[in-house]
């Protein structure tokens, strides 16, 4: 016998590892046939999580979680090729975690695999989804640049909406009266120790349950789950048709896992990690905080919901969603599993995906409210270089109108496009609007002098569709036929 085999035999005799390891590897699983590739999502999430732990440990060896020093250690990590690659793997891995856990949850939901006897699998999964979201949020913050810093304030403010304990909760999150020395350490402890510990706990139980109850077979219409008979039926089915998990089913997990990790590493190598913004100086007022892409939809949602509903959305929204996740296996734990017999499940998934995609896109167009980087309108757009219209264009910019209103493609998108406003509104109507404001527009009663208003109106009243340009005539045609020369009084030829 070779020396390795002898070593293994000695080890196994003392520890008995193969007694439990081999049955796990070889345990029978239902043949998935056409649905086989749907089953790789859970393991892919697990592999990415392990990748996050590994790259996270690597990063934590160089990162100092001090409010004062973190930024410099990030510059240090970013200064080497391998540092950038590891940062990149960790960043794209985070995005992959969100995507994979979402698709995995949708797959399990659509296939009714949350029903008996896998209800607690679903519950632990819901917990893991919550922890993943906590991880990506605290993780973005650890990138302790301008956006990371202000994200901590925004988190505290949202928590502050909680009735009764809101103020205390907000300051608890910040670890003090203001963002200071202790704030970053708190988020670091949460991101590196506390939440991962919870994840390991829930994940262990989640995986144990998969083994204990067996992975769900693909659903079939006309085969509803009956708790009284399911386990025996499942057992019999495995006896007749089961294939060993390793390697008959596991090879797909391995191949897909490799594909996912290869994608993440390629992104890290070719695109690089996210750029570091300015240092987390609270006195830099020109910050434009943005969450990472997976929260953009929520960020956009908070901008468009009516004011009165804000507390409800911020507090009750997540609570309602969490409650729905918890109640699902408890009230719908039996019956048909196939999505073909559960059309509402398909509708719900489609609606959720559409909402997230739609608002995510809106959030992506940011800065959209207001677009503080807008530049004064160029002369070609205004039409004149001096005079009341040009003065009005200046007022239009200086009073901040352009930050929310677009003219000829320049400006913000919050308010209506004013390129051709004179076609729609009379000067009296425009004046009324400027003076009275709107729920999303300030009232300029006290902010405009009479001259400023007059110029502004001159400018806005010039914003109408220009008549079509006259055809270019030969140069000498006016000599014999003066009536053919077009009237250039609108200054279009300038």
């Amino acid at each position: 016998m070779s020396i390795l085999k002898r070593l293994w035999k000695w080890f196994d005799d003392i520890t008995g590892v193969s007694d439990w390891l081999v049955p796990i590897l070889r345990h029978p699983v239902p043949p998935a046939r056409k649905s086989a590739w749907f089953y790789v999502l859970g393991s892919a999430t697990l592999f990415v999580f392990i990748s996050q732990v590994v790259t996270g440990i690597a990063l934590s060896s160089a990162y100092v979680a001090s409010s004062a020093r973190a930024y410099e250690t990030l510059l240090f990590i970013n200064g080497t090729t391998l540092g950038r690659i590891v940062r990149g793997i960790h960043y794209y891995g985070a995005s992959a975690m969100v995507i994979l856990i979402g698709v995995h949850a949708i797959r399990v939901y659509l296939m009714g695999a949350y029903k008996y006897p896998r209800q607690i699998n679903w519950l632990t999964g819901a917990g893991l989804l919550l922890f993943t979201l906590l991880m990506v949020f605290t993780g973005q913050l650890l990138r302790w640049d301008q956006t990371g810093f202000w994200s901590s304030v925004i988190a505290a403010e949202q928590a502050g909406r909680t009735p009764l304990i809101g103020n205390w909760l907000g300051h608890f999150i910040l670890a003090g009266d203001t963002v200071g020395g202790a704030t970053l350490s708190r988020f670091f402890a949460a991101h590196v120790f506390f939440v991962p510990a919870l994840i390991f706990l829930f994940l262990g139980f989640h995986l144990y349950l998969v083994l204990h109850n067996g992975i769900s077979e693909p659903p079939k219409t006309g085969r509803p789950v009956d708790p009284r008979t399911y386990r025996r039926w499942y057992h019999d089915m495995l006896n007749h048709e089961g294939v060993p998990f390793w390697p008959d089913a596991a090879w797909r997990d391995a191949v897909f896992g490799l594909l996912v990790l290869a994608t993440i590493v390629s992104l890290a190598v070719f695109l690089g990690p996210p750029a570091l913004g300015k240092p987390p100086d609270p006195t830099i007022i020109s910050a434009s905080p943005r969450p990472d892409w997976y929260f953009l939809w929520y960020y956009a949602l908070l901008s468009v919901i009516p004011k009165w509903s804000e507390d409800l959305v911020i507090l009750l929204g997540p609570l309602a969603f969490g409650l729905a996740l918890i109640l699902l296996p408890l009230i719908a734990g039996r019956g048909e599993r196939s999505p073909l017999r559960r059309p509402w499940s398909v509708v719900i998934v489609i609606v959720i995906v559409i909402i997230i995609a739609y608002y995510g896109n809106i959030g992506h167009i940011a800065p959209w409210s207001p677009r503080l980087a807008a530049q004064p309108l160029p002369v070609e757009v205004v039409g004149e270089a001096s005079g009341p219209v040009a003065e009005g264009a200046k007022v239009f910019y200086e009073k901040g109108c352009e930050y929310c209103h677009m003219v000829a493609g320049e400006g913000g998108v919050r308010g209506p496009d004013l390129t051709y406003v004179a076609d729609r509104l009379t000067p009296a109507q425009i004046t009324t609007r400027i003076y009275s404001g709107a729920p999303n527009m300030p009232s300029y009663t006290n902010n405009l002098t009479h001259e400023q208003l007059t110029s502004l109106l001159a400018f806005l009243d010039s914003r109408h569709r220009r008549p079509p340009k006259p055809v270019a005539l030969p140069a000498n045609i006016g000599e014999n036929n003066p009536q053919l020369i077009p009237d250039g009084s609108h200054g279009e030829n300038k």
């Binding site: 409010s67 304030v153 925004i154 809101g166 020395g181 987390p280 200086e398 300030p442 902010n447």
Partner: protein, 168 residues
């Protein structure tokens, strides 16, 4: 005795085992508590920082009617707070002796608001909040006017009272 009888035990052994079970559970709970309670207490304990008056400039440095950004040190910042130890505020000199100081935190969700001097408005870059010069909400989602910091003039120095971050 057979194994089965040894496990079931006589009434005396059973009551002894009941006692030992309770003792073990109590000991384990106590051990967990004496570690967990101080740890959780430390985590939850917030140190209330005393509010102190900080100088932000000489009174003559500020033009009447102008709103400018000022920076000041938080009350008792930790030595490792570094660049985050400062707080910014918008300071306006109202007249000879009177000042008004606004927190830069938008009352919606805390993003820093910018002062637009030509428009006489504060604008928040995050969700569209706009405030008038006096801090009232002009438009957008903020629920309350901008928070003001207490400000005074002492010996020719303008001072702002360091305050906790305003949480709605």
């Amino acid at each position: 005795m057979t194994g089965q009888t040894a496990l079931q035990g006589t009434p005396k052994e059973t009551s002894r085992r009941r006692f030992l079970t309770r003792l073990s559970v109590a000991a384990g709970s106590l051990a967990a508590a004496i570690v967990a309670l101080p740890s959780i207490g430390f985590l939850l304990g917030l140190r209330k920082a005393p509010m102190v008056w900080r100088n932000v400039g000489k009174i003559d440095d500020f033009r009447i009617g102008a709103t400018v950004e000022v920076k000041f040190l938080d009350s008792s910042p930790m030595p490792w707070a570094g660049v985050t130890a400062e707080t910014a505020a918008w300071l306006r000199r109202v007249d000879e002796q009177q000042f008004k100081a606004f927190s830069v935190d938008c009352t919606h969700l805390g993003c820093p608001v910018r002062w637009l001097p030509t428009a006489d408005l504060f604008m928040c870059p995050c969700h569209g909040g706009v405030f008038y010069a006096d801090g009232r909400v002009a438009s957008g989602p903020p629920p309350k006017p901008l928070t003001t910091y207490p400000v005074r003039v002492e010996n020719g120095q303008v001072q702002i009272l360091t305050s906790p971050l305003p949480i709605t």
